[in-house]
């Protein structure tokens, strides 16, 4: 029963925000999108252990894909969603296996380079809007139950759809984490060589995680394009998208389902509702990141756990299993 408590709280929270002013709705929607990108990243970075600093590329693929499909081809939100996400997945399947040849820090640097290339291309190419970007994306009409004039401009409709997407993306993450695939990914994160020696095609799993991250980030991108109705290179640069997602995952607690939600509330939603200045916001960002990484390496989610359990330290059962496997392998290897 307690399992469903956080989900109920999330839905209730989103519902309460949904009654707010258009200004509040826009803030809540953009915060939800930032959290969605972080949840996407949490698949490859949290579960898979590949620190991907280029998730903005796929967020951007979704947004630019949707913007072009809608303004040039007249695609609806639903059709754009299918096609733009498919594009992002295909791109990730092409670049993923190449970039994933590199490890740890080098993977982080190469994804960062990919982000640089993406922003440079969309900013330099006039067919992609250049520095000015692509305006004029048309939102879908209001949902039927709002009635004829219940939701002018469809902002509330967009907000509701984004909430549904957020819950869905979070559910996908939770499902992967609970599934055998998620556990294998975590095992690969802890000891890739061991998993290889146990017969797992680890590259395949890492590409899978990379692609899921790309696809989910693209979902957020499509909704970004339709709620903001305008895309330009800025929001998809390293610092504003990829880095933000990285910080949210790190602060929330890598591989934790509720980590990005907690960190997103503290880092994104909180400061925008409190209307911090851009400068204060950056201090909060940097300061919270440093403090959490230094003093609470498991992130906010681990902190909440520790509070709930009265301070008892726990070793993950996964780590213990791995240690045992490793020990067995070593003694076997040495005997033979």
């Amino acid at each position: 029963m307690t399992r469903f408590l956080p989900w109920a709280a999330l839905v209730a929270g989103l519902g309460i925000l949904g009654t707010g002013s258009p200004y509040l709705l826009t803030l809540a929607a953009t915060s939800a999108l930032a959290i969605m990108v972080a949840i996407a990243l949490n698949v490859s970075m949290g579960l898979g252990g590949s620190v991907n600093l280029g998730v903005g590329v796929f967020y951007g693929c979704g947004a630019y894909g949707a913007a072009l499909l809608n303004t040039k081809q007249g695609y609806s939100l639903g059709a754009s969603l299918v096609v733009a996400v498919a594009i992002a997945v295909v791109v990730s399947l092409i670049v993923g296996p190449l970039l994933l040849r590199t490890r740890s820090l080098y993977f982080a640097i190469s994804t960062l380079a990919l982000n640089g290339i993406f922003v440079d291309i969309v900013a330099s190419n006039d067919d992609l809007g250049g520095e000015l970007g692509i305006p004029g994306i048309t939102r879908p009409g209001p949902l039927p139950f709002f009635g004829e004039d219940g939701d002018p401009g469809s902002l509330r409709t967009m907000y509701l759809l984004i909430c549904v997407a957020l819950v869905a993306v979070l559910a996908v993450f939770a499902a992967i984490r609970g599934h055998r695939v998620g556990r294998t990914l975590e095992a690969i994160r802890e000891d890739e060589l061991l998993c290889q020696s146990l017969g797992y095609t680890t590259l395949g799993y890492r590409v899978f995680a990379f692609t899921v991250t790309a696809g989910l980030a693209a979902v957020a991108g499509v909704f970004y394009a339709f709620v903001i109705q305008y895309v330009n290179p800025g929001p998809f640069s390293f610092l504003t998208s990829s880095f933000q997602a990285f910080v949210i995952v790190a602060v929330g607690g890598a591989a934790r389902t509720w980590g990005p939600i907690l960190a997103g509330i503290v880092l994104v939603a909180g400061p925008s509702f409190l209307e911090f200045s851009a400068t204060t916001n950056q201090y909060v960002y940097g300061g919270v990141l440093l403090a959490i990484v230094i003093f609470l390496p498991g992130g906010l989610a681990a902190g909440v756990d520790r509070l709930a359990r009265g301070g008892a330290a726990t070793t993950s059962s996964l780590r213990r299993t791995l240690a045992r496997l490793k020990h067995t392998r070593e003694s076997e290897g040495e005997l033979s």
């Binding site: 070793t315 240690a323 020990h327 070593e330 003694s331 040495e334 005997l335």
Partner: protein
């Protein structure tokens, strides 16, 4: 036994709460040696790594010339005169033989009152290295790398030398040569030597006597060899290689303690 250089008192150590080393005590004096013989996983490396500060002990004390070094960092322990030749040799790749030797001088230079630069004396002991001073360390053969690893530690003018599996992966003839060097270092340089090995006959040529490490505890080996059958059983129980010479009935009396 003369005055003790290195004393280990009821040492307990392990990882994540497990006890790999369980209540180990011994002491070695200048020019003396101790062979620690045990199977894989018996805790030989953990014992040496705990003495040199890489593993934090759960309890117990380590004394060097009466001074407590239990909680010092590994680099401090090395500068105090306990040098560790790690398992697998681990010469610095990308550095030449000469540069590898120079890294060793850092430990010795830190100690006041140390005698002259051991560079020439070390190279006299290992003339092979003198021929290869400008070679990249990682391009040398396993035996040469082992010599370099020992020579590198000697450059730090150790009073205690810990050597982890010096015979690992080496041809028998090379093992013999390494053993001769180590014996020279103990007998003529007066260094206290602790050698970990899987096989007792690898250490018997180097140190006077040895002890078995079983389940994290040191067991005395009666070097008199009065009850050979029991001893062989103890080896087998410990999973150690049965010393080949033991079968001929010589080995265990050969390395009689001085």
């Amino acid at each position: 036994m003369s005055e003790s250089l290195l004393t280990v008192e009821s040492l307990v150590a392990g990882y994540h709460g497990s006890r790999v080393i369980d209540d180990v005590s011994f002491s070695v004096g200048p020019g003396e040696g101790l062979g620690v013989v045990g199977a894989n996983g018996a805790g030989k490396s953990t014992l040496l790594r705990t003495i040199s500060g890489l593993v934090a002990p759960a309890s117990g004390r380590i004394l060097l010339e009466g001074r407590d070094i239990t909680r010092l960092s590994p680099d401090r322990i090395a500068r105090a005169g306990v040098l560790h030749v790690p398992e697998g040799r681990r010469v610095f790749s990308g550095l030449t033989v000469h540069e590898n030797l120079r890294t060793g001088t850092i430990a010795g230079a830190a100690r006041a009152g140390s005698s002259a630069d051991p560079y020439d004396a070390v190279l006299d002991l290992f003339p092979r290295l003198r021929e290869r001073l400008n070679q990249q360390a990682q391009t040398m053969s396993g035996g040469e790398q082992q010599m370099l690893a020992i020579a590198r530690a000697l450059m730090g003018r150790p009073s205690v030398l810990l050597v982890d599996e010096p015979a690992m992966g080496l041809a028998p003839v090379v093992v013999k040569r390494v053993a001769e060097h180590l014996r020279t270092i103990r007998e003529h340089w007066g260094v206290a030597l602790v050698v970990a090995e899987q096989s007792a006959n690898n250490v018997d040529g180097i140190v006077g006597g040895h002890q078995l490490l079983v389940d994290g505890r040191l067991r005395e080996v009666d070097s008199g060899g009065s009850d050979r059958a029991n001893l062989l059983a103890a080896y087998r129980a410990a999973g150690a290689d049965v010393p080949t010479t033991a079968r001929s009935g010589r080995a265990l009396t050969d390395g009689k303690n001085e």
